[in-house]
Amino acid sequence: MSETRAITVEQVLPYAAEKIWHTLTTSELIAKWLMPNDFAAAIGHRFNFRTRPMGDWDGVVRCEVLACDPPRLLRYSWKGGSDSNTTHGTRLDTEVTWTLTPVEGGTHLKMVHDGFVLPQNQSAYDAMSPGWGKVLDGIARVTAEG
């Protein structure tokens, strides 16, 4: 019944997919760019990310490896937060998917964080998303000027 939205960040990096995969799937390296964790690249492995607690939330993101196809695809669940938090630290029952595609000069890395349940009025968010970047640019400019 609930409708969801995804966040996507993607970039071409001048490295081989294997090298990026190593950084995405080695616990000590993940700790350096993402968060402290006990990740292991095995389907079904349950692990946590730890961040600072917010409100009623203990700051632990509970995860499970859902897909692992080196060096192309990695997906894990991402659960955490609390219902009593309204913005940062809201309850999340989401999934993070990493896709690595070799391209000329490197690898196209794409991260999709999917499953954000919207507070209300899904259509409004949907309609809004294409203009998001432009709107934020405008805001940044206005803020800088002011």
């Binding site: 970039q11 990096l13 993402l34 309204t86 934020l136 805001i139 400019r141």
Partner: protein
Amino acid sequence: MVSTAQISAVAKCLGDPTRRAVFERIAREGEIAATSLVKGSRVSQPAVSQHLRALREAGLVTERREGRHIHYRVAPKGLAPLIDWLGHYQTFWRERFENLEKLLKETQ
């Protein structure tokens, strides 16, 4: 703390494509007179006025009167309820991507 009601009010206001177009145009221009907004669009003057009123009531734009003209600007904090909520996660991942890139560079 931003409430769900505030998030919904802003989202609802910008859910109208024409109104969002008006809002984006104001954001792009920095500041624009209502008369210029009407000239540059296919929307009638009363419709533009109505959208501007809705945007103002939602706290998304501010107005400045100069003689017979009213100029509109985007209110920088107007989008805060939406930016706070989903933008928090967007920013989170952008920053993590930057960390990742740095780390890859270091371990070459």
